[in-house]
Amino acid sequence: MIFRKMKLHNFRQFKGDTELSFSTDKSKNVTVITGNNGAGKTTLLQAFNWCLYGQVKLENPDELITKEILSQIEIGEKERVEVSLEFEHLKKIYTCRNYIDYIRNTNSNIQKLDEDRLFTISDPDTGETKRTDQNAIREIFPSDLSTYFLFDGERMQDLVDNQRAGKKDLSNAVKNLLGLDVLENAKFHLEKAKKEFETEFVSDSSSRLSQINEELKLIDEQIEEEKRKKDNYENELIELERKQSKVNDILKSNAGLKDLQNKRNEYANQMQRIEADIEKKKTDIFKTFGTASVNYFLGSTFDILTDKIKKSDLSDKAIEGINANAINHILQKGECICGYNLNNNPSAIEKLEKLRSYLPPESYSILLKGLEVNIKNAVDNNNKYYENFNRMYDEYNNLINQKDILTNKMNENEKIIADVGDQDLSKYNEEYMKLRTLIASKNQAIGSCKNQIEVLKQTQRNREDERSRITVSSNINDAVQFKVDICDKLISDMTSRLNKKEKEVKADLQEKTSELLSKMLNSDKNIYIEDDYNFTVTDEFKTFTLSEGEKIVTSFAFVGSIISIAKDFISKEKNEVLEIADDDRFTLVMDAPFAKLDLSHRKNVTSLIPTLTDQIILFSADSQWDGVVETALKEKIGLMYNIDKNGTSSSISLIEKEVK
């Protein structure tokens, strides 16, 4: 089965009619659809799902018709959303159409009018076209086709995350390949029948037996209820783990930004400290200037003043070796040291008294001496002050230099942050922690359900034992036992057959994935898938820890091997049933996360994509469609489209691009 064409009419953002063809050329088997993030790639991918299965994995899944169209419907008018797919299978052309009609009723409300899925089949040889039913499609695709051919970005990621969602996906892929869902259903019904039969046993104490049967029925219901609760918790857990993985991806991919933001904070703190130091130094400098510079300004006059004092007659008038006490003694005695009587000579007394004022201890020279000391101290202090100021000035300039260097660093850091794209990562950290708590509580709830189930099963076994003890041997009971035994046998056979088949397919998946992964990574690798669908990758020597890029390579390898096994399996089954040689071709639709591939693997993986199956429909973000990817695929591209926003309008359209 390969796709030939898809037509959209008013499907979500694709207003009006949009049509795209897919390359059916065997040598150019790749169709590429590129678009910016949010342009509508996922919508287009989900159009396959909606057309074939009536399901969409999009936000607001009920709002399928283009909003603008819906708002413009007049009262009594009708509008349709429709997707049709044309595909080729065993040389016949099939179309599958899914549509919903909407009408605005007289109350001005929008009402879903009609919803239908139509299938037609036409034979190009005879030109005959006829309607067919969904069973015809089911014949072409076993149960859930999308498991093998439709891989959106989320599934690509889940496959290698070794988390619940990925494990479930792998296990579903294997089970669907085997048609296990049908067999599991049969097993379920057999177990139910067995239980019904068991209530037919008779005993001597029939009242106790019926009581036990009632109890067992109740226990069964309780077990089912616990299982249902556990399943719900597990589904919720898958969603939570998926969200956590996405948040973790954002945090990991922004690890560089986080470092830069940490650096920004560190720089800001350093800057705060330097600015505080600068302010403090400035205050010190001002304070020193305010208190000490006055003598410094005056310093230029000290020598002048000293000179002036020397030149004045103030110091000349003193007599060396004579002090005021000696003059006092002479005045008291009334006689000079030369014998001159002073008592009769007031002018001589006046002269001596004047002389005394120039002599120590209470003299001008003492005062001048004091002043000299003060001046000397001031001069010394001025020298110290100048040195001290220059030291502070150097320290201040040093801080200013540090600030300049830091400012440059900050600017450079901000430039890198702007290039990377700044965003607040703290909300993601909070979200991650919140999800971790929720996951822990879900795991706890699942554990508690499992315990409860075990307790109930133990009670169930006890009651069953009691029932067999009180059951008497009789023809009736023998007949009942026979029926129960048959059920047991069937259940056991079915289980072992399924286990065996599952093991075989798992081994096949293991082998094929290992082979593809080795090719993609250019070195021998082995994948081991455990019973619980956890997997490990080993190389020649030891368990190999996958890098993020290698995980995505592994995802590609899983996708490739799943589709290869599906193809083999379905072809084999067809050949057995239809007894014809099948030249059927297979398709693979995938949203390829090229950006997550390491550059070293990008070329290898990309060039292997066209070999995965007969037809490849590849979705890629514009930014991921880089030189390496384009070059590796260019020989294999048959058709190429770009999703384009129609100017400022909210709708989008597809533009076919020339294949270079």
Partner: protein
């Protein structure tokens, strides 16, 4: 010992300049008073207060008293320098005259210094006020370097300085 019995109160435009420098640089008014007096003296620039503005700058008596040794030293150097050439003995009397609570008269040396402090505030204000924030420290450094060159701390002779100062 010099005793201050009253606050020094500066009024008008001079007071505005005192307050502006105090706010801008965190100087005490008493320090501005001393710097202004010295700058007024070495530049021979006296002035008087005006009443053009209601702003006042009040230097409290207790602050003056706590700095009285330093202030008196400035008074002495300025008065001697100013008066010694005229009459050395009188200069000594004026420079070392002291007042007390019993003798509350206003001293000549204080009046002389205050005249210089009113003239000198204009010089100090011109040196410091019109400077952008991040150039304040560099400006102070330039002022100090200029005085270093002028003062006896440098290699210049007294005659060089006398000539430069026009004394």
């Amino acid at each position: 010992m010099l005793t201050f019995q009253t606050d020094i109160v500066i009024r008008g435009k001079k007071a505005e300049k005192y307050q502006e420098l105090a706010n801008k640089y965190g100087f005490l008014l008493v320090d501005i008073y001393m710097m202004s007096g010295v700058l007024g003296f070495i530049n021979n620039q006296k002035d008087v207060q005006d009443n053009d503005s209601s702003v006042t700058a009040n230097i409290p008596r207790n602050v003056l008293q706590s700095r009285s040794d330093k202030i008196d030293f400035l008074y002495q150097v300025v008065t001697l320098n100013n008066e010694i050439d005229i009459d050395a003995e009188n200069a000594m009397k004026l420079a070392f005259e002291e007042n007390s609570i019993e003798n509350p008269k206003k001293l000549y040396k204080r009046e002389l210094f205050e005249d210089y402090a009113m003239g000198g505030i204009d010089i100090l204000y011109d040196m410091l006020s019109d400077v952008v924030f991040d150039k304040q420290v560099d400006n102070i450094k330039d002022i100090l370097d200029k005085f270093y060159e002028k003062s006896n701390l440098g290699q210049k002779t007294i005659n060089d300085i006398l000539e430069e100062e026009g004394l």
